[in-house]
Amino acid sequence: MSFKDKAGEVGNFAEEPGELDEALKDFRLSVHAWSDAVYSRPRTAVAPRQVWRMAAGWALGCVLVAGGASAGVWQHHQREMKSAAARVAEQERMAVQQRNQKARQEDEDLLAKVDRDVSREVPAAMEPLAQMMTEDKTP
């Protein structure tokens, strides 16, 4: 004997007498009736359990997170680049300023040296006259 095929066919289980037997039989009948009713009802297409939607949601979420993270990294990188460029420009400006200052100082020193040298080598304009006056005073 194999599994019984007909829903309405109910066997008696002699080893379960009396009320228990009745209860088991009724239980079987009710499950069969319930299953038959559900099985024979018109079926609507069961939508797949939104797996694709969940996967798309996850993918979109990942893209957004990755995009946000990379945008943040990119912005940070840009800021770093700008500040580095500003630092370099400032350093160059300082260097130019120092060079200019040094050049000005050298020019001034040179001019001062020339003035000193010229004043030592060339007599003052009135010096010969002063010498003549000194010679006239002699007896």
Partner: protein, 180 residues
């Protein structure tokens, strides 16, 4: 070769038409979830179709299919225990609601009420059984399978099946006795 395949396909179609309602009924009574029972029934026949060429007729097709269904149900419980419970909490029907489907037959109203109450008590006891005991109980008392068939379908020895069945029936008896 093509002819053999065609014959096999026809045979399988006949097997599906013959046994699908019964597999669905077993899975429905086990899971109490119509959607899940339908999904597992589909999975069962899909798996059977893939392995149809390896079915050698050592047991009946029904026993073979029932074994696949039991394994699928077991896998479902094992792999998605948390999701399963979350799912069943929302979709499952209390098994005693099945008592509302009890055919009235030629009983009086009082007898019908009494019968429904008894079915509700059996359902409650069945819900409290372990997964294995429930499977064996349902195969025996809903699907009316022989002990040897249950043993083949579950992969247990007949002695083990008897022991589980005995405990399950004792629990049902206690539930019926306790409510009186």
């Amino acid at each position: 070769m093509a002819m053999a395949k065609e014959i096999a396909a026809e045979e399988f179609s006949a097997v599906v038409a013959r046994h699908r309602p019964q597999i669905f009924r077993f899975l429905l009574s086990s899971t109490r979830d119509v959607d899940l029972a339908e999904t597992l029934t589909q999975d069962c026949f899909l798996k059977a179709h893939r392995n149809w060429s390896s079915f050698r007729g050592e047991s009946s097709a029904m026993t073979w299919l029932m074994r696949i269904a039991i394994n699928l149900q077991k896998d479902h419980w094992r792999n998605r225990r948390m999701q399963f419970w979350r799912h069943t909490q929302s979709n499952a029907v209390a098994l005693d609601e099945a008592s509302e489907w009890l055919p009235s037959g030629e009983r009086s109203v009082e007898q019908q009420l009494l019968a429904r109450e008894r079915v509700g008590q059996v359902s409650k006891a069945v819900e409290g059984l372990s997964e294995r005991q429930r499977t064996i109980f349902l195969l025996r008392y809903v699907e009316e399978a022989e002990l040897s068939e249950i043993a083949r379908a579950t992969g247990l020895s007949e002695g083990t099946v008897k022991a589980h069945l005995s405990r399950a029936v004792a629990r049902v008896r206690a539930e019926l006795g306790g409510k009186r």
